[in-house]
Symmetry: C2
């Protein structure tokens, strides 16, 4: 039961041969959630073996080119591949005119519905829910309307202790009830307690995505305790003035957010093209939050199942 | 004095990890002419060492996504790199609304002029002229308004035979006149004949670009005798019905065009993603026109100086 983040692009505004613009894939139980869609995203998806057919939901943090210019090619290719399934795109309000532009000029062969779900929340808000996962959006602090995303695995159903199943001769109905978390009262008055008969198979996992943003106080409360945090670290401290002016974070600031929010692990990315050696960024973040890792094109960060 | 074509992308509608969408660079005496701008073009330009600053003219054959989706990223990056020089984009009429869309949504920091020169010719027409090169556009036969391009090096100035320069004690003024192709009449009545004193240093070179198009009769007259022809070969003969229906050429048809137009060398590209082994396409074209070569990402085809 996969729960992972793969980074397809670590560049900020200026991509180069080794660094693609922002695009990320959350694989949650085999369902793919694409977050941001910079130029070249469709080729990066292919390069790292992601099936376009498994993507039904795309999340766009904001409408700067380095997060969106790959959407035209991706939508076209999905069309050429014969897609008919609905595609949901969660994006700021202005995405409507981008989508309308695309459909008017390049939408001739598009045979599937593209549904724009407008992001417009002032605080954390549930925007997607399936059998296995919930996605929340929350506002970030960038030059234009920008949103972060929180992916929360749903609590798994209880498992029944094997030895109890046999010794108590549980019926299918009793098993279903216990798995759902309800005590069972038998006809003879015997009570089978959920806490005695079942256990949680694993803890529900969570991950958050924060790009692009300047630091702000409320952010840590929205991502409190996530197992995995992707946070932008466009600049090092040498460029803290530039970071402030452009509403970005330094690696150190990202470290403070990870620490304050008590996350499990932090991945940094969205590197300014001026940094050839990324260890500068890594070390600045690690000084504050040791469990920091550098994102790299194609690198997958898995959140393992935790049974404790 | 370079005269070359580098292919940045050989894919047709569906790109993959090894095949980028259409984009090509003509380097003529160090000046770069970009033809088509598929997704990922800016990164391909970087990968093969082309300076964005040397591009002042972009030629867009038509407004299908696989020839244009890279323009947004390229224009943005030129802006971020601080461009101030005018940029000319030769493209069909509807490109205006694409450009307006770009400027309205992503044009905030753009500090250079982007001038759209509308392509609208029914026959071959001069669209660009500099000291070294002329560019002509001509209509192709595709599903939407589409144009091919002819790059013609200007005739070089005459060179003076060295031994004549010394024996006749030519003045600078006389040399300039002879180089320009004018006879010189000296005060004593002596006539210095251009034909006797000078020679053409090399033959002016030419190259044409034809993508996307179904074959049609007039095409060969517009590209007659070019040294280098890039021609699409989306399909092999097994898909000739599909080629006809989608207004594309088969490799064999490209071969016939090259042969009829008596070109020097033909490069084929714009391959359908169904062809993993391109030798099928190559061989079909070579059967008709032996001097056919396969385009490949990053491959440069030079037209050498011919002094005969």
């Amino acid at each position: 039961m996969e729960f992972s983040l793969t980074t397809l692009g670590t560049a900020s505004a200026l991509p180069n041969v080794n660094r693609y613009p922002s695009a990320h894939v959350f694989d949650i139980h085999g369902r793919l959630f694409l977050v941001d869609c910079g130029e070249g995203c469709q080729v990066q998806l292919r390069r790292y073996g992601f099936s376009f057919a498994k993507i039904d939901n795309i999340f766009i943090s904001h409408l700067h080119g380095d997060h969106i210019f790959g959407i035209f090619g991706l939508l076209s290719t999905m069309s050429l591949l014969g897609r008919t399934a609905d595609l949901y795109i969660y994006a700021p309000r202005d995405f409507s005119s981008i989508l309308n532009f695309f459909l008017a000029h390049f939408g001739d062969g598009v045979r599937y519905n593209i549904i724009h779900k407008v992001l417009n929340c002032a605080t954390q808000e549930l925007i997607f829910s399936s059998r296995t996962v919930e996605v929340y959006a929350f506002p970030l602090n960038h030059r234009i309307s920008t949103f972060g995303f929180l992916f929360k695995e749903k609590e798994p159903k209880n498992n029944i202790h094997k030895w109890k199943m046999e010794s108590a001769c549980l019926t299918l109905k009793e098993i279903a009830s216990l798995k759902d978390g309800n005590n069972v009262v038998r006809e003879n008055g015997e009570v089978l307690e959920v806490t005695e008969y079942t256990y949680k198979p694993y803890n529900a996992r969570s991950a958050a995505y924060c790009s692009d943003t300047a630091p702000f106080e409320r952010l840590s409360s929205w991502i409190e305790g996530v197992d995995l945090l992707y946070h932008e670290a466009t600049f090092a401290e040498d460029m803290s003035k530039m970071a402030k002016d452009t509403y970005h974070s330094t690696a150190q600031q990202a470290g403070f957010i990870a620490k304050t929010a008590s996350v499990g692990k932090m991945i940094i990315g969205h590197y300014s093209s001026r940094y050839k050696d990324l260890n500068l960024l890594l070390n600045e973040a690690k000084n504050i939050f040791p469990e920091t890792y550098l994102a790299k094109e194609g690198m997958k960060f898995e959140v393992p199942i935790n049974k404790n």
